[in-house]
């Protein structure tokens, strides 16, 4: 009787382990999640067109732009909507230059502008133009799992590593468990105050990656305002190098 009980207990334990193995195997460590997130989201070279719609108290302003960027170091933006046509920005590391279409002059813009809204929107230049490896700048902590937009997501909290300079010292990300794209993100200031919240409305698969193509960003410091950015004609890679991000590129037709 005693032996049968032991055997039954052992069998039950083995069965439990056997049932649990596939589930345990699917769960990743936070470092593995971050590595897969960086693998999907970090882009060395990209060019795309975008529509940016800023909405505040019933007023909607639309801007069109073309963007070319290398990782988090180089970006060239040209606004193509009628009102702002010819306005161009060049970003190299933490420096920003602007080309005014009227005077056709290139003026250096103070670095703190990088963290301000691009052309008055809720999306900063850093938000829109940078692609950096999160693991290089942040320490990650897995907070759990949640469902966003019907997708199972890891909820990850990122805290800036000592000595690293980033726009948001703390971030929370809802990372798709299958595609490792971000469906939702909260960005916090040093004080712990929620500064911005972004939600991914649409994704698309490009070259084996699943990337957000429609994102809505809410600036929590501006009540009732949000900016929706839609990317199209996306090309990963491209026949351009860092040398193509120059003062001359700001003036070419």
């Amino acid at each position: 009787m005693f032996v049968r009980k032991i055997v039954r207990t052992v069998l039950a334990a083995l069965l439990l382990v056997a049932v649990s193995l596939p589930v345990l195997g699917a769960e990743l460590s936070v470092d593995e999640i971050m590595a897969k997130l960086d693998e999907n989201m970090f882009i060395e070279k990209i060019q795309y067109k975008a529509t940016m719609v800023t909405i505040n108290r019933g007023r909607e302003i639309t801007k069109e732009m073309t963007v070319k960027a290398i990782a988090d170091t180089h970006a060239l933006v040209e606004f193509t909507n009628r009102r702002d046509r010819g306005t161009r920005y060049l970003k190299i590391d933490d420096e920003l230059w602007m080309r005014f279409p009227d005077t056709e002059e290139i003026v250096k813009i103070s670095g703190h502008m990088l963290r301000q809204g691009m052309m008055g929107s809720d999306i900063s230049y850093e938000d829109a133009l940078e692609s950096s490896k999160l693991q290089e700048n942040y320490t990650a902590k897995l907070l759990g799992s949640e469902t966003v937009n019907g997708r199972e997501c890891y909820l990850v909290e990122l805290t800036v590593k000592p000595g690293k300079e980033v726009a948001y010292p703390t971030r929370k990300m809802w990372v798709d468990k299958e595609h490792f794209t971000v469906w939702k993100e909260e960005m916090y200031a040093q004080s712990g105050k929620l500064v911005k919240e972004s939600k991914t409305l649409a994704v698309t698969e490009i070259d084996g990656r699943v990337l957000p193509t429609e994102v809505v960003m809410e600036n929590k410091l501006r009540r009732g305002s949000q900016t929706r950015m839609t990317l199209y004609d996306i090309e990963l890679g491209g026949d351009f190098s860092q040398e193509d991000f120059s003062l001359r590129a700001l003036t070419r037709p």
């Binding site: 302003i61 009628r82 009102r83 002059e105 250096k108 103070s110 502008m113 008055g120 037709p253």
Partner: protein, 350 residues
């Protein structure tokens, strides 16, 4: 007479150049044009009863013939109805219509240089309120200078890129015979500009040095030796800084030894053309309540003669193509308040 002749010659050369390149017209890439319609109504307070209505139509046509050749033609048509003369005195009402060609150039892009021929813009320093070292800042008199596009200069300019953030510029303008060179580079995050202009015979020499950088706070400093017809030879300088909090509040400050003289309406480009050794201070506080609007107050002060000017400006973007603005200018030049106006305007881009 000589200037007129030179201008006509240049226009002729530009047209010939267009014809020479007309074969590539068939392969012209994206041709586009755009325009802006602006209307402003201003009333005076210092001289009660003064009214000015300004309407302006700006048009621009860009023809990129190929990847290497581009042409731009732009102009303003302006109509002013007012009862204020150039000295700010109220008189009989009059109307003035003026057309101005502001751009007409052809630009050739080659691997090692850009060459621009025709009526083209050229700006210089980076001053926010005062730009005393800028030989191209234009007139301070809004009745004679265009309030639309930055002024154009007839001539030829050559730009030679010397690396990613460096370039050398040489130019010659036929209007006043002024020639010059400019070198721009970036050293450890600081933009540096050195430039010189001179007229034939070594007259009206201007030498400019400028630095602009960012130490958490944006800053710039410029100094120039100037030998102009309108003043004794000497050094002019300006320095300033700017900072922004959360993108909602932006503060700018600037100090110059050649600020506005307040002898007239000190609005428009080229504010810093006052007498040397008249140290002036400019401070502006800008508040951005939402994505579409901005409220700014600029104060210009010349402590020596206790003159000042306050310029509040409110701008808001109503739609994708329409902007509304309201502004004022209130100041004291001498013993009493003698500069005072308020205005509002609409801009429509098409």
């Amino acid at each position: 007479m000589r200037t007129l002749y030179a201008k006509k010659t240049l226009i002729l050369v530009a047209l010939v150049a267009v014809l020479v390149f007309s074969e590539v017209l068939a392969s012209a890439e994206e041709v586009y044009w755009q325009g802006k319609l602006e209307t402003d109504f201003m009333v005076g307070f210092a001289d009660v009863g003064s009214e000015t209505l300004m309407n302006r139509l700006s048009l621009e046509l860009v023809l990129p013939w190929s990847e290497d050749i581009s042409t731009k033609v732009a102009g303003d048509l302006q109509h002013i109805s007012s009862n204020v003369d150039r000295d700010g005195n109220i008189g009989p009402s009059y109307s003035l219509t003026a057309a101005e060609l502001t751009r007409m150039y052809i630009r050739l892009y080659r691997p090692g240089y850009d060459l621009t021929l025709g009526l083209q813009p050229l700006s210089w320093g980076a001053g926010m309120f005062f730009n005393p070292a800028d030989p191209f800042a234009g007139s301070t008199d809004p009745m004679t200078s265009s309030l639309g596009a930055a002024p154009g200069y007839s001539g030829v300019s050559l730009n030679v890129p010397l690396g990613v953030l460096s370039r050398f510029t040489a130019f010659h303008f036929v209007d006043d015979g002024k020639s010059g060179i400019k070198y721009r580079t970036n050293l450890n995050g600081t933009d540096l500009i050195g430039a010189a202009t001179v007229r034939p015979g070594g007259e009206n020499l201007q030498v400019l040095l400028q630095a602009q950088g960012d130490l958490g706070i944006g800053w710039f400093a410029q100094t120039a030796f100037t030998d102009l017809e309108t003043s004794d030879p000497g050094f002019r300088w300006a320095a300033g800084a700017d900072y922004s909090w959360n993108g909602k509040v932006i503060v700018k400050g600037e100090l110059s030894n050649a600020g506005p003289s307040f002898s007239g309406l000190a609005l428009g480009p080229g504010l810093g053309t006052g007498d040397e050794d008249t140290v002036s201070v400019g401070v502006s506080l800008q508040y951005i309540p939402d994505e579409f609007s901005s409220l700014a107050l600029t104060v210009l002060v010349t402590p020596e003669d206790k003159n000042f000017m306050l310029m509040p400006v409110y701008t808001t973007q109503l739609t994708d193509l329409m902007d509304l603005r309201a502004y004022g200018g209130f100041g004291k030049a001498g013993a009493e308040l003698n500069i005072g106006l308020a205005g509002a305007g609409l801009s429509y881009s098409f």
